[in-house]
């Protein structure tokens, strides 16, 4: 229904900033990255055409595959350690008549406000061997090995723990919102029908929060695969001992800005983008299947 009173050109003024920024800083770089991925560059000033060689080299690049392995380990940690903790906390906070819910929520959410750079600096001290906060505290409490070499040999677990601290509260807030939106009528109907607490959870709560949980899982996956700042600053601008902390985006950054080969970096970027698109596609398929089954 077009309003005849609406000024003809004002919408264009309203969307102009976005459209301009999109075309210049999203669309154009996107197209450029396709072109760049076929080039080898020496900084931004010079480039030579190499065709598909970047991708060929990438497939056989051991550093790249190391990065992929590390990133997958991190993503698995996020999915199977972090998200269950978030959901668990959300369920605890969802308990009716809980006092101080707002304060708990605030406390759990606070770490996600700290920039990953700053988290990395704190983590560097926390995970230090022999004098770090974690080892000392665990040693005093349960006799944990005070020289446990987090940053020498257990780099990814340390990073997973650090990310856990940052993001548990963040995802918990989403889960909590979803839990609090579960239709009370449904829960009461189940209760009246004599369902046990577990049956209520399985047949009413879980299906009700499935869309939000699904969204969180996907966002978490996509975010995990782009991990860069945390390990980069934590490991002193590198991948750490034996590149245990090297992630895909960190490798992209190193090749693009330390070696100067923006072409190879673009190729890495595209491989990542395609992998993420595949993940999103699979995710969409899975959720559609679940919805069809539920119907």
């Amino acid at each position: 229904m077009t309003s005849r009173l609406q000024c003809r050109w004002s919408p264009y003024v309203f969307v102009a900033p976005f459209v301009l920024v999109f075309c210049v800083f999203t669309l154009y770089p996107l197209l450029q990255s396709v072109r760049l991925s076929t080039m080898q560059t020496f900084g931004p000033r010079s480039e030579t055409f190499v065709g598909a060689r970047n991708f060929q080299y990438l497939l056989g690049d051991p550093l790249f595959w190391k990065a992929v392995r590390n990133t997958c380990v991190f993503a698995a940690g996020s999915l199977f350690v972090q998200l269950p903790c978030s959901l668990g906390l959300a369920m605890l906070l969802n308990r009716p008549n809980l006092r101080g819910r707002a304060i708990f929520r605030l406390i759990f959410f606070a770490p996600s406000l700290v920039g990953l750079v700053f988290v990395a600096i704190i983590a560097a001290l926390v995970f230090e061997k022999h004098t770090g906060l974690l080892n000392v505290a665990l040693h005093d409490a349960v006799g944990f090995d005070i020289d446990f070499p987090w940053l020498d040999r257990y780099v990814m677990p340390a990073i997973i723990l650090a990310a856990l601290w940052v993001y548990v509260g963040f995802n918990m807030v989403y889960f909590l919102a979803a839990l609090q939106n579960v239709s009370r009528d449904l829960v009461e109907a189940a209760m009246i029908d004599g369902a046990s607490k577990w049956e209520q959870f399985k047949n009413v709560t879980i299906p009700a929060i499935r869309p939000v949980a699904s969204f969180i899982v996907l966002m978490s996956l996509i975010g995990s695969f782009q991990l860069f700042e945390l390990p980069y600053v934590l490991l002193n601008n590198g991948g750490g001992p034996d590149n245990q902390g090297l992630t895909i985006v960190m490798y992209l950054y190193q090749t693009g800005f330390q070696t100067g080969d923006l072409g190879y970096a673009s190729a890495i970027g595209w491989v990542l983008a395609i992998a993420l698109a595949a993940m999103a596609f699979v995710h969409r398929r899975l959720s559609r299947n679940e919805e069809a089954e539920a119907a």
Binding site: S3, L5, Q6, V15, V21, V126, V136, W165, G269
Partner: protein, 328 residues
């Protein structure tokens, strides 16, 4: 609008008379046998509930303490002398009140940061970048979102496609070509080169579109048009005020994002005097890696402003964050 604050109280079962089964009257015309109605809690059930509640509180308190420990560690470390640093986890032990050597605490690290290392400059840079980016992004996204939601124009579908397409593109893919572009536009080492690409993020347009669609009634806008209001006056005078929760939340989200942004300034900026706190602190780690007190003091200065801001505006923030994910 979903209120995350909704606290529900389950109906007290003791309020229901055992004979007047509500199911009989409301849901079914047949009398329902009493055993299927809501149960009156026996003594055992009440005790089980109390234990359950105690466990819940215990777990929550432990989890909250674990979450706060790094913050406490950070604050204490910022005021400890490097010599005392590893003598104790939190505050240095001594003869003072509560067994803490209060006299050994120092603000020398902050002094060094601001006097010798020009940290104040970095702080101002962060403040400037975050403020300009957040205000600019909020305006641009609110305008775009409103137009997509409430105005008719040719190309509306195309713009929407641009928004959705942007959401799909992973940021990492654009790092290398963006640097190339900024180099050729001569925008490297400038705030313009940092702010411009971030001034109209697609997710913002999307959020405001949702907010406008559900929060601003068409009838209101039509009435204003009939009254002769110009489109801009409608936007600034009617729509923006109605979208205040989303405006507040989005301002915070973008402020936070710009403040904590590391990879952007690291790539684009080259002069030290232009570095924001994120890059400055990362550099501190490189140069003064062993000067733990200094590092912690710098980090504390960097996170305090946003934590304070969040404390003041938290309700809007969380409501705005979750409005996109939960259907309402």
């Amino acid at each position: 609008m979903n209120t995350v604050e909704a606290t529900h109280t389950t109906a007290r079962v003791t309020d229901v008379e055992p004979n007047a089964n509500p199911l009989a009257t409301q849901l079914s015309p047949l009398p329902v046998p009493p055993m299927l109605g809501p149960k009156r809690p026996r003594l055992g059930m009440r005790r089980r509930n109390a234990i359950g509640t105690a466990i819940v509180y215990a777990v929550l308190i432990v989890a909250a303490a674990l979450t706060l420990v790094p913050f406490a560690y950070l604050i204490c470390s910022a005021f400890k002398l490097n010599a005392d640093f590893f003598g104790s986890i939190f505050l240095p032990k001594g003869d003072g009140f509560l067994g803490i050597a209060w006299n050994k605490l120092t603000t020398s690290h902050f002094g060094r940061l601001f006097e010798q290392l020009a940290f104040g400059r970095n702080l101002v840079n962060s403040l400037f970048l975050a403020s300009v980016t957040s205000v600019g992004a909020t305006l641009c996204c609110a305008a775009g979102g409103y137009a997509l939601a409430k105005q008719q124009f040719r190309g509306r579908g195309l713009v929407l496609a641009m928004v959705l397409g942007s959401l799909i593109v992973p940021g990492a893919l654009l790092i290398a070509p963006s640097y190339d572009l900024l180099f050729h536009l001569r925008l490297l080492d400038s705030y313009t080169g940092l702010i411009l690409p971030a001034i109209a993020p697609a997710f913002g347009v999307f959020l405001f579109r949702q907010a406008a669609m559900s929060g601003v009634p068409n009838a209101l806008i039509e009435a204003a048009r009939i009254d002769g209001c110009g489109e801009f006056r409608i936007f600034f005078g009617i729509v923006l005020p109605m979208l205040k929760p989303m405006v507040g939340a989005f301002l915070l989200i973008t402020y936070l994002g710009a403040w904590n942004n590391f990879i952007g300034p690291q790539i684009v900026l080259q002069s030290e005097s232009r570095f924001p706190l994120s890059v400055a602190v990362a550099q501190l780690k490189g140069t003064y890696g062993q000067d733990y007190g200094l590092l912690m003091a710098g980090t504390l200065v960097s996170i305090l402003p946003v934590l304070a801001l969040f404390l003041m505006l938290q309700r809007d923030f969380i409501a705005g964050l979750t409005s996109g994910a939960v259907k309402g």
